[in-house]
């Protein structure tokens, strides 16, 4: 049994599909490229694919991951040597906006994505609900104040219940990148690194803590990185090739 980790994007219109939808897309894509998958036992054999952190419906990402088990002794694709070929064929079999960008065989006993990933870098645009432009300077000050404070108490909806808790420790970094430009004239682009343990903090939830009384709204949220931090070091589950990963999202880069 070989475990393969794949990194992929979710950009453009397809961002409105759900986490479950993405799982089904991948199952079909694996069958289309005839990657010999390992199947579970039992009445309804399923391919053994595990996804990491769920990406909220409507969010884009440059850094999604999955681990898949490939059957031993299977002929065909050699994941070790044919990575660019495999990535190309998978991307062709996946919807526009979902592209496989990196793959690697995992060492035996490697921890799962859910066990490993500790934080994510997000970028998004803050706009006001039809009440004129956001002041980048004032928002930057708010960000600094938030980071300087020792608590950030938010009330969030969790599985139909309201939960009030201090999420300050989940905000690892927060900064204003500048005016957003079209199509969000008057909006301001933000970037943050937010912990996903013990529970993920979402950009929209953080925004509620930033704006005066929830006046700010989130547009075009995009995950740029997932991080594994341990003993002071930080790395990605898979390095993406050096294209587009850290470039600020420009409208032309959107898949639609």
């Amino acid at each position: 049994m070989t475990r393969v980790r794949l990194r992929f994007t979710k950009l453009g219109k397809v961002r409105w599909t759900s986490h479950r939808d993405v799982a089904r897309m991948w199952e079909r894509a694996f069958r289309r490229v005839q990657l010999p998958l390992a199947y579970s036992e039992g009445f309804t054999p399923r391919p053994k694919v595990s996804f990491g952190l769920a990406l909220p419906t409507g969010h884009e990402s440059l850094a999604e991951y999955l681990d898949v088990e490939v059957a031993d002794g299977a002929s065909g694709v050699d994941v070790g040597s044919d990575v660019p070929v495999l990535l190309g064929r998978l991307s062709d079999a996946l919807p526009d906006g979902v592209d496989a960008v990196a793959a690697a065989v995992l060492p035996a006993g490697a921890a799962s994505l859910q066990e490993e990933v500790t934080s994510c870098t997000w970028q998004w645009v803050a706009v006001t609900a039809g009440r004129g432009p956001v002041d980048p300077g004032a928002l930057a000050v708010s960000c600094e104040q938030l980071l300087a404070g020792s608590t950030l108490v938010l009330t969030r909806h969790r599985k139909g219940r309201e939960v009030t808790e201090d999420v300050r420790e989940a905000v690892l970094d927060l900064r204003v990148l500048g005016p957003a430009g079209l199509p969000y004239a008057g909006g301001v682009r933000l970037q943050a690194e937010l912990a996903c343990r013990p529970r993920s903090l979402r950009p929209a939830e953080l925004l509620a803590g930033l704006g005066a009384g929830g006046a700010l709204q989130e547009r075009d949220p995009r995950r740029l990185h997932q991080w594994i931090s341990r003993d002071g070091a930080r790395w990605e589950p898979l390095e993406a090739p050096r294209v587009a990963t850290d470039a600020p999202p420009a409208p032309s880069e959107r898949a639609s």
Binding site: D21, F43, P45
Partner: protein
């Protein structure tokens, strides 16, 4: 700026399942609009999950996009939350491929598979920014066209639809395209709308209701007559002679989000001559036209390769009747290219042990449940409806199922059938209990679900003259069944809401006057009437009252032989004499054989159009079948050679 996407996307964060509105399916076309191309928007007037898999719509979508003079996009009824957001933001109905305004197309073409979607059709027209009344539309508005099984009684929608297509659409969409493309080139000037409709009325299979006068005598319909000599007095359905000439869809749409029937679908034959008298589909789609087995295999193989699906459904009205079905199925299962991971499903299983044997082969791993449709609770009842399944056929099928690893069996029944007695109704419970007893011989806790629907008589069938049961009558029958099944832990009873059957009855056999009722139900917010959470019968009954229409007259009344029926000017080829004789035979509990394997009794469907059955084998399928080996009793002899071990039949 033709794309509404920048205005649609901000709405998506606020609605359930936003992936329903993005398009992007594998198999979707990238349309190139242009002045020389008739632009069709194919609309399924129910939710995306229900509409996307519809094969009829997908076939026409591909055929139109293959033409140089047409372009086709798709749309589905936005769910209620999305509709509210769209109306608030002033966003009209849009296409999924290019997110273009529905009102900018030349044709809005609706697929009508069920009567309860009629209010959604009105809602979609309105959301498109087009007047729901055909006679108030402007030259710049699209033509509103409708096709599908429901158009065999087009009258309830006659005020809202410019043109109906009757029968198979494969050929006629091209002919309509030529007329519409010419209209588009002419600039769609003032007055041109009337001319284009007049021209469409001369296309065979097209019915333009505004070109007919309707006269009444009190509640009675007197006549529907064409206003002009070149407009046909009777519109005959279109039928493709050879399904093998139409291997579509070639590129079935693969949705990005969950839908019903989320699998590869390959239509293996069209039409059914089992002759079940309640079944509109079986009456209006005659004759049987099988796809060549080699083409079925090719469509399955290329479809699985392209889509990545691991399940294929071989669709038709009674798939076990396909000539050599067992070889086709084992060919798929054992195809090395499928590497043992493909499952096959056959909708509408025939009720016999042979069929279960085929099912056993295709469901090697996931043996969860099997469904059979005896429809009637007693042999007498099944003779009335001409679904000639003997009790031993059913028990044989159930025995085969439970002995081969299945734990659940579901049985479909209708209640409120002609001549139904208390004994017939209770026969449903008895069959279900006996099936559970058969199951106990093989498994510890067998489950038999009896699913009971209230019968709604349909146009163009032998039961079109029949009086439909009232809500109270249907409820009494359900109560009877509940009491009779309560004490058997192996039997679960499910029933369809009798109130929905009444609304379906209004829309099914209504005339033009019912249009006002549909409009009123829609104006009062009655969309998605197929969905129980949105259905409310009082909207329908109060609209009937408001327009002075009697529920008893339209729904709960038997029609005499000489009554002019609202759909008499639309023909499925069936002689009225044939339907009437079938109705009399039903009342006498006399069966009629399947003409696929027995001599022609001239129903009209073949002789009228100069076509015939296309079947791979002139012999009935192995294991026997309806009308080929049993004493049908009841005074009608069946002119066939008797074959050993004949078993009953089913189709839906």
């Amino acid at each position: 700026m033709t794309s509404l996407w920048p205005r649609i996307e901000p709405l998506l964060a606020r609605v359930h399942k936003p992936a329903r509105y993005i398009g992007c399916e594998d198999g979707a076309s990238v349309p190139a609009h242009g002045p020389g191309r008739a632009a069709w928007l194919l609309v399924y007037p129910d939710s995306y999950e229900v509409g996307l898999p519809n094969q009829g719509l997908q076939i026409l979508y591909e055929l139109l996009n293959e033409r140089g003079d047409a372009v086709a996009e798709r749309s589905y009824a936005p769910w209620t939350d999305m509709e509210a957001e769209m109306r608030r933001a002033g966003v009209p109905l849009f296409s999924l491929e290019t997110h273009r305004r529905a009102g900018s197309f030349d044709v809005l073409a609706f697929n009508l598979s069920a009567e309860l979607v009629y209010t959604n059709l009105l809602n979609c027209i309105d959301l498109a920014g087009v007047d729901v009344h055909a006679d108030r539309r402007r030259p710049e508005d699209p033509l509103v066209v409708a096709g599908g099984h429901c158009t065999f009684n087009p009258e309830p929608l006659a005020d809202f639809v410019d043109a109906f297509v009757i029968g198979d659409g494969e050929e006629v969409v091209g002919e309509i395209t030529e007329v519409v493309a010419a209209w588009k080139r002419s600039g769609r000037t003032e007055g041109s709308r009337r001319r284009v409709l007049r021209e469409l009325a001369t296309v065979a299979g097209v019915y333009v209701p505004s070109l007919y006068d309707v006269s009444y005598d009190g509640p009675r319909l007197v006549a529907v007559t064409p206003r002009y000599p070149d407009v046909p007095a009777v519109v005959e359905k279109r039928t493709i002679a050879d399904l093998g000439a139409w291997p579509y869809p070639r590129r079935q749409l693969v949705p990005l989000t969950e839908v019903v029937h989320d699998r590869l679908n390959v239509e293996i034959f069209r039409g059914c001559t089992r002759g079940c008298r309640f079944c509109q589909a079986g009456m209006i789609t005659r004759p049987v036209r099988e796809r060549p087995a080699s083409q079925v295999r090719e469509m399955v193989r290329s479809g699985l390769d392209r889509t990545g699906y691991d399940e294929v459904s071989l669709t038709s009205l009674s798939s076990a009747d396909f000539s050599g079905i067992d070889e086709v199925v084992s060919g798929i299962i054992n195809d090395p290219a499928c590497s043992g991971q493909v499952s096959v499903s056959l909708p509408s299983l025939r009720v016999d042990a042979f069929t279960v044997g085929v099912a056993a082969e295709i469901q090697k791993v996931r043996r969860t449940g099997l469904t059979f449709a005896p429809e009637g609770g007693t042999w007498r009842m099944r003779q009335v409806i001409n679904k000639l399944i003997r009790e031993e056929d059913l028990y044989g099928a159930v025995e085969a199922a439970f002995s081969q690893g299945w734990h659940r069996v579901k049985l479909y029944f209708l209640t409120g059938l002609p001549t139904e007695t208390e004994e017939d109704t209770l026969g449903i419970a008895e069959l279900a209990r006996n099936c559970a007893a058969v199951g106990r011989r093989h498994v510890r806790a067998p489950s038999v679900t009896a699913s009971v629907g209230g019968f709604v008589p349909k146009p163009q069938t032998p039961f079109q003259w029949f009086r439909q049961d009232t809500v109270e009558e249907l409820r009494a029958k359900v109560r009877l069944l509940r009491d009779a099944t309560r004490r058997d832990p192996g039997v679960q009873l499910r029933w369809h809401d009798p109130r929905a059957s009444v609304a379906e009855g209004i829309a099914s056999r209504g005339d033009r006057r019912v249009g006002a009722v549909i409009e009123e139900v829609w104006r009062r917010g009655g969309t998605f009437q197929e969905w129980s959470e949105h259905f409310d019968l009082s909207r329908w009954t109060s609209a009937m009252d408001a327009h002075g229409l009697s529920l008893d007259w339209y729904v709960h009344r038997e029609r005499p032989q000489d009554e002019v029926l609202p759909w008499d000017h639309v023909s499925a080829g069936l002689h009225r004499d044939f339907l009437w004789q079938e109705w009399r035979d039903a009342l006498a509990a006399a069966g009629t054989p399947d003409c696929r394997w027995t001599p022609c009794y001239d129903c009209g469907a073949c002789t009228g159009y100069g076509i015939e059955h296309v079947v791979g084998s002139p012999l009935p399928p192995a294991g026997g079948s309806q009308g080929t080996g049993q004493d049908l009793g009841g005074g009608m002899s069946v002119p066939v050679e008797l074959r050993p071990s004949a078993v009953g039949a089913a189709s839906r």
